[in-house]
């Protein structure tokens, strides 16, 4: 079976500061993978390296058997990898509808885009109500929904989610995680979920990776990680 994504001995830097050390991980098609770890462990950098915003200094990023380590970010999006970044990064002065249109920037099929916008409005009815409001006026939870919907507009095969629970009320977090699972089940979109909320992330994921100081220190199925004593102590507060 071809892997959806594979990182082989990836080392990434910000200037002279090394953020990732020999990161190895893989994702199979249709999986939900979670990457958990503390603040500053290198989780977001891992996603940015996949997207090409940060380029790996050594190692390989392989997407569907094709190396994309040195590709430009816009080329990587065109291949079907889409990220919902940390902090959501909504375009504040564009309306909800225009934000969704921006998500479909690489596409030209007008009918398909229209259908996908309707699909997103079905998935997140609140966005339909607010379609004409500027993105900056939405609440945190609504912005997170908009960010996910915007990513879906690119019809990704691999969806990268960076801390979708950050700063949100538990009920909203629950709602968003349900929808993430729904997206995975209904359209078979592979999901790479980065979270500090390890408890929730490990409950919806299939396999998980634990990151510390830029290194992958542990990997297993999510059930086993949930039961692991060291994970319990460090990340679940048990």
């Amino acid at each position: 079976m071809t892997r959806m994504l594979e990182l082989r001995n990836v080392n990434s830097f910000y200037g002279n500061i090394q953020a990732l050390y020999d990161v190895n991980l893989y994702i199979d098609p249709g999986e939900i993978i979670t990457l958990i770890g503390a603040n500053g462990a290198g989780k977001s950098t891992t996603l940015m390296t996949v997207c090409g915003v940060v380029q790996a200094r050594s190692g390989q990023v392989v997407y569907q058997e094709e190396e994309i380590t040195r590709e430009a970010p816009n080329k990587i999006v065109a291949k079907g990898i889409c990220q919902v970044p940390e902090g959501r990064l909504i375009f504040p002065e564009l309306s909800v509808r225009e934000n969704l249109d921006m998500g479909a920037f690489m596409r030209n099929d007008k009918d398909g885009i229209k259908r996908d916008i309707e699909y997103c409005f079905d998935l997140f009815p609140i966005l339909a109500q607010r379609r004409r409001q500027p993105g900056g006026n939405l609440s945190g939870g609504e912005q997170q929904m908009l960010a996910i919907a915007r990513a879906l507009m690119a019809r990704p095969r691999l969806l990268l989610l960076d801390e979708p629970s950050m700063g949100l009320a538990p009920l909203v977090v629950r709602q968003i995680f349900d929808i993430v699972q729904k997206i995975n089940k209904e359209s078979g979109t592979t999901i790479f979920l980065v979270e500090q909320n390890a408890n929730l992330a490990l409950k919806i994921g299939h396999r998980g990776y634990v990151m510390e100081n830029g290194r992958i220190v542990l990997t297993d199925t999510c059930d086993k990680l949930l039961a692991d004593e060291s994970v319990k102590r460090a990340y679940l507060g048990l």
Binding site: V53, N74, C82, P85, I90, P92, D101, M102, F105
Partner: protein, 300 residues
């Protein structure tokens, strides 16, 4: 009353030119938060290109109005090439550097271009031919409004409307707005940000070149230093209107042009800059973000 209107049209003409240049400042600032101090020099290079092309065509015996059209097109292309190159040479390598570095690079570029034109052309004032023909129907306006003033104002209005539609409706325009609002996210939705930045410099430079040729033909002389003064004034206009905002730059240019015209007409031409910069100080005291500028509030 006639004097008042004469000043009004004079101010409108000046304001139009300021607006054309200010758009370049504000667009670049909106996208990469850099004050492109070399922008005034691009305007000057546009005017020089217009002069050279107009001289050549006159020697070859082209009719009047076609000289204006061809000179404008050549100036736009040549200035756009300069704007594009300046960005690639002086700013792009400093994309990740602290904000002061590209600013210093911009000032260096400005000084370099000025001296380069001074050495390759001359430091004297050169006469610029009047490229706009005298329209017959303009005689009703007497001394209030000349043909070239009319052309400048109409051209500016057309350019502003065109630019507004371009930004709002085209794919590249949308990409520019998205990049201005959040560059990282623009990358993540697949926008080629380098391409957007280059396009911004090309468009801004083209507008400045249009302004350069038209005003040079109106005033009748140019030298290598015109870009510095026009650049400072247009930058003032951009700040006045709210830097980063396109309608702000247009409005700022007009307000500044009219203020200068009336200060010159009713007080003394010695005081034109005093009034212009007093206005800037007042606006910055009462509306620090400029007339159309928005205070940035970030929601987390």
């Amino acid at each position: 009353m006639e004097y008042f209107l004469e000043l009004f049209f004079g101010g409108l003409t000046r304001g139009s030119i300021y607006a054309l240049i200010a758009l370049g400042y504000t667009m670049v600032y909106g996208i990469i938060e850099l004050i492109n101090f070399a922008h005034g020099e691009i305007y000057m290079i546009g005017a020089f290109t217009g002069l050279i092309v107009a001289g050549l065509l006159t020697m070859l015996g082209f009719p009047g109005i076609s000289i204006l059209a061809i000179a404008l097109v050549c100036a736009v292309i040549w200035a756009a090439a300069y704007g594009y190159t300046v960005e690639k040479v002086a700013y792009k390598p400093l994309r990740g550097a602290p904000r002061l570095s590209p600013l210093i690079s911009a000032i260096g570029m400005s000084i370099f271009l000025q001296n380069y034109v001074m050495l390759s052309q001359t430091s004297d004032f050169l006469p610029f031919p009047e490229l706009v023909p005298k329209f017959g129907f303009m005689k009703h306006f007497g001394s209030m409004l000349s043909s070239s003033e009319l052309v400048i104002v109409v051209a500016t209005v057309l350019v502003c409307v065109g630019l507004t539609l371009f930004i709002k409706y085209t794919r590249l325009g949308k990409a520019m707005r998205a990049t201005a609002q959040n560059r990282k996210m623009a990358m993540l939705v697949g926008i080629n940000v380098d391409m957007v930045i280059s396009a911004t410099f090309i468009i801004g430079s083209s507008l400045a070149a249009v302004g350069g040729v038209l005003i040079a033909s109106h005033i009748g002389q140019i030298n290598y230093y015109i870009g510095f003064i026009a650049g400072i004034k247009a930058f003032t206009a951009a700040v006045l209107g709210g830097i980063g905002s396109l309608p702000g730059a247009m409005l700022g240019g007009l307000v500044l042009g009219l203020t200068e015209a009336y200060a010159t007409g009713y007080v003394s031409s010695d005081y034109e800059d005093v009034f212009a910069f007093c206005l800037l100080v007042l606006i910055l005291i009462f509306r620090p973000a400029g007339i159309m500028g928005k205070d940035k509030i970030q929601k987390v």
